[in-house]
């Protein structure tokens, strides 16, 4: 046998080192980006919220990737337009899980669309971030579900409790409930009526209407005839605008001290600008307003960046209502992945349940049901709003926070008929 020369030994050693290192290098490049899959409404009747949320998520993705990604991996979205149609959602999520094989999932925007996919994600035991659904985990109790919206515990029954807490503080006794016949608004109305009864208040009547109703004069006359202390409304954007215009046209009974509640749409820039002074006196839910008690670290800078791109992306010009929370959803994922050191859904879920996460909407701590341990839905009243002026909402003063008391900046102006003027 020929002896092995030093040169041969050196070559063999080099070859062995390369071979030993190769599997590790191959494994790293085979991992690829972290793929986050979801559907979101980019067309259809809730597209204004969906597109604004997507713009915020893209900002987060850009920030994360610019900082080197998560656990060394860039973040990629696999996103589909569900067209605001619940019927499209199951097929999309089946594709995301079985064909696209994404690493993580975000739920669709909104209650109506999340309702149809929750059973699937629970069955498949997938980590999910809820995006402004309400109460869809109440019946499942799924431990890998985390909701970005600040509804608080058991939101199906409690998210609108703050409005009724405010009414109770004021000593109001009677109300009328007005709601659209759609999942979110019907659930809100039902929950609201139960809370009112729990507080010993009398629901004088409940007025339902089909979605996209444009003329509310009949309903408003019925409300006025009932002469309640306050009115709780659960409506969608076009209906909210029609209701508020209807009040300007028909008038409202002097008995009504407080009007509003769960009106979706009045938080959006377009409606703030176009309804203008017609909004004065309305008391409604919100998630973020320009107020001294809501200056969380990072939120100002985020809104500045979002608003710069809003016109180009044709999304909500202010971005107060949804975008900060969609961005926070990304921050939750980032925090969980970094803490777990991996995209392991079990580890991520355990960490999020055990720890609070600092986000641009403040610290978020989750309860066992995947909702915030404490509700941070704010109930604000519009004051001295001028017509056709969006800039007024970038500064404090036009949306005063009445509830929760910890964030309160002013007191309720009542009755509503006076507060309108």
């Amino acid at each position: 046998m020929r002896p092995i020369t030093r040169r041969t030994f050196g070559k063999l050693a080099a070859a062995a080192s390369v071979t030993a290192a190769a599997p590790i290098r191959l494994a790293k490049s085979a991992e690829g980006p972290i793929r986050i899959g979801f559907s979101i409404a980019q067309t259809g009747n809730i597209a204004s919220g969906g597109k604004a949320g997507l713009a915020a998520l893209e900002l987060w993705r850009g920030d994360v990737n610019a900082a080197g990604g998560l656990v060394g991996r860039q973040v990629e979205f696999v996103v589909y337009d569900d067209q605001s149609q619940a019927s499209n959602v199951p097929g999309i999520y089946a594709k995301l899980m079985d064909i696209d094989k994404v690493d993580l999932l975000l739920l669709p925007y909104g209650t109506n669309l999340t309702a149809v996919v929750m059973p699937m994600v629970v069955q498949r035991n997938r980590f999910v971030i809820g995006q402004f659904e309400i109460g869809q985990n109440d019946k499942f109790g799924f431990d890998k579900f985390f909701e970005v919206a600040p509804w608080g515990p058991k939101p199906g029954a409690n998210w609108c409790r703050g409005y009724f807490d405010l009414a109770k503080r004021q000593g109001y006794k009677t109300l009328v409930v007005v709601n659209s016949d759609a999942e979110f608004s019907a659930n809100a109305a039902s929950a609201g009526a139960k809370i009112a009864e729990e507080y010993g208040m009398k629901v004088l009547s409940v007025q339902h209407y089909p979605p996209n109703t444009v003329d509310f004069s009949g309903i408003l006359r019925t409300v006025n005839a009932a002469a309640p202390d306050y009115v709780f409304v659960a409506s969608y954007p076009a209906e909210s605008a029609a209701l508020i215009r209807g009040i300007s046209e028909i008038g409202i009974a002097d008995s009504v001290q407080m009007f509003g509640g769960a009106m979706v749409g009045v938080q959006y820039a377009q409606q703030l600008a176009s309804l203008g002074s017609a909004l004065n006196g309305v008391t409604n839910y919100d998630t973020y307003v320009a107020a001294p008690t809501m200056n969380f670290p990072g939120v100002g800078e985020f809104l500045e960046r979002y608003q710069k791109g809003a016109e180009r992306d044709k999304v909500d010009a202010l971005g107060h209502f949804l975008p900060p929370f969609f961005y926070a959803g990304g921050q939750l994922i980032a925090a969980a992945v970094k803490a777990a050191g991996t995209v392991d859904e079990d580890k991520m879920a355990k960490w999020l349940h055990a720890n609070a996460t600092d986000t641009i909407v403040g610290p978020i701590k989750f309860g066992p049901d995947g909702n915030w341990v404490e509700s941070r839905i704010i109930w604000d009243q519009y004051r001295d709003v001028a017509d056709n002026n969006l800039d007024q909402f970038r500064k404090p003063g036009k949306q005063v926070i009445l509830q929760p008391e910890a964030l309160q900046t002013w007191k309720l102006a009542a009755p509503y008929s006076k507060a309108r003027n």
Partner: protein
Amino acid sequence: MTLNLALNAIISGLLLAGVYAIASLGLTITFGLLQIPNVAHPTFIVLGAYCAQLLNSFGLDPIIAGLLFTPLFYLGGVLLYQIYFQTFERRGCSDTLQSFTFFFGVALVLQVSLILVAGVDLTSVNAPYIGKSLRIGPATMPYRLVIPFVIGMTVGLGMWLMLMRTRAGLALRAVAHDANALRICGLSPTRAKANGFGLAMATASLAGAALIVVSPVDPFSGTQYIGRTFAIVVLAGMGSVPGTLVAALAIGVVESLVITFVGATWAPGVAFAALLGTLAIRPSGLFGIAR
């Protein structure tokens, strides 16, 4: 109190009927008279709304803006008809599923174009009369409903007079009955139909202006009106302009009374139940085919 509610419910219903009427008049021509399944008509109404909003953003009243756009819409309608004629009618394929799908395609392309240009947010207009009402005794009439009502009735009356008293209108009614007879008389059926389609599109411009005065719109608003507008055209009797006005008034009042006294949830169902009931008794609709 009940009388007061009933009076205001009837008045609200009549006013709302103006919106339904102006939205349906164009379909009365295209679908009722010309037998063209123009399911894109509600989307053209939404386009009209956006056009009105565009000029309103420069300070022009939305109704006047809608009026200014009518010649453009007319020309667009004539052009669209020519495409439809060359593609389907000339080849004898006008009664096929493909011709129906053509207009669905037009609606979809138009909707997506609106999304790309204007975005998906609701858009609305400003006018000094929006948010104000006209009060006469116990009756309260919001101006944002009064004005579309006046437009709807005026356009309806104008269209009826055109169909009854002008050569173009007579040609349009004639082509609906017998295109060959019209040809023998030395008139062009294609030109008559193109004119009719153009007029229908012109009403879409005004209907869009009326619609955006009533309520904010987004690119998807057209889908809310497809069912109602086709139901009104069928209830009216295919091609009957007076029938369209009466059907719109009937549906508007029935809906409003049901909203006030029974519950708003029932309103669309009752309106369509009225349609089915009428068709069961009188299949040709309230006024039959216009002669």
